[in-house]
Amino acid sequence: MNLKATYRALVAAVWLALGASSGTAGTLAGSAHDFSTASWGGGQICVPCHTPHKANAGVSAAPLWNHTVTTQVYTLYALLGGKAIMGQPTVGDKLCLSCHDGTVALDSYRGLTGATFVSAANNLGTNLGVHHPSSFHYDTSLATANGSLFDPTTKLVTIGTGTQVKTGTIGAILLSAGQVQCSSCHDVHNTFNATTKNLLKMSMATSAMCFACHNY
């Protein structure tokens, strides 16, 4: 093989390697929700949230639920002039809060009570008044009442990067049963690999995630 051929082979190998790595982008492994390296994770990724047997069949918002669900009653978001009707977090949000409100240990699953809690940076606490509202209906009437929200039935958004991209209306791509939930912005399984931190569906560069709904 001459030098030129060797160089070509090398370029091809690098190209293939890069192609292969972009194929695996958007996976849970290596993300902030990969628990396999945590001391309490037992070397597994899925099991703190899901289990193939003896799951909590009372949870319908996610399949085969394994983690202890928080029983916390929260202080709700209540900005003066808010047009949305707020209530206690619905069950999809409660699943997130079952680690991220800081009341239930990360390793409280499979019926065991754990002792390792979410880090301070990832602990939202029980006062949700200081966070973007969640668990409320976001529909055309709310968009009209608010005046600076896009209509979720018509506004198109594109989430994700690389090979994991999805386009659709806010209602189809970001809302869950018509509600804004934690999972409206956050990508719990890192499916879309849009950000290097906080598992977001869209990038925070130029605040793109905010402008998906907010018309400013």
């Binding site: 996976t27 070397g43 597994q44 799951a55 069949a57 319908s60 399949p63 085969l64 399984h189």
Partner: protein, 217 residues
Amino acid sequence: MTGTRAVQVFMLAAVLLLVARSAVSGSIMGSAHDFTIYNWSGGQVCIACHNPQNANTSVTVAPQWNHTLSAQSYTLYSSPSLKANIGQPGMRSKLCLSCHDGTVAVDSFGGATGSQYVSGANNVGIVLKDDHPIGLLYDSTLATLNGSLFDPASKSVTIGSGGTTQTGTVASLMLYDGGQLECSSCHDVHNKYTAGTRGLMKVDSVGSAICKVCHNK
């Protein structure tokens, strides 16, 4: 025997021992399905499930079936996001459930009615709603509908560890009877493949590898 010669013999013996050990790994002997340690087995491994004589010939998915079959009708798995059609477990899974649903004694075989039941941890129960769905067709159409499942016709998987591995598509190594997902899709009833240390898995659960065989997460 000189000192050097003794060392050589020792090394040879050590190598042979290692080879012998790896040859018995991937065996039902010593696994969770080796019943010889229980009084009710009469010191036999196979008899609880298989019998060379007078087997239940109505069972065609496993040879020479000997264990009393569960007659249970199960509460099936359901979920709002589920795209598959779930039916009552296929016969292949019913064989497993004939001990693991807790309704039939482990020692109910050869026409006898036993009294020893599977332990709590290994008792799946009769409500399958809290267990990963089984008795479903997992094909390319389901993979597309679901959106985060690999296509079983093309996704490659290696089952087993050490000297006992097999590589092929998910469909060829983990699905049965034309694409059905059953207990034996994940579980290795005879411990042929020895992946991991518990649960008789075809693929180790370290790094949730068994989950990620099918789930593209």
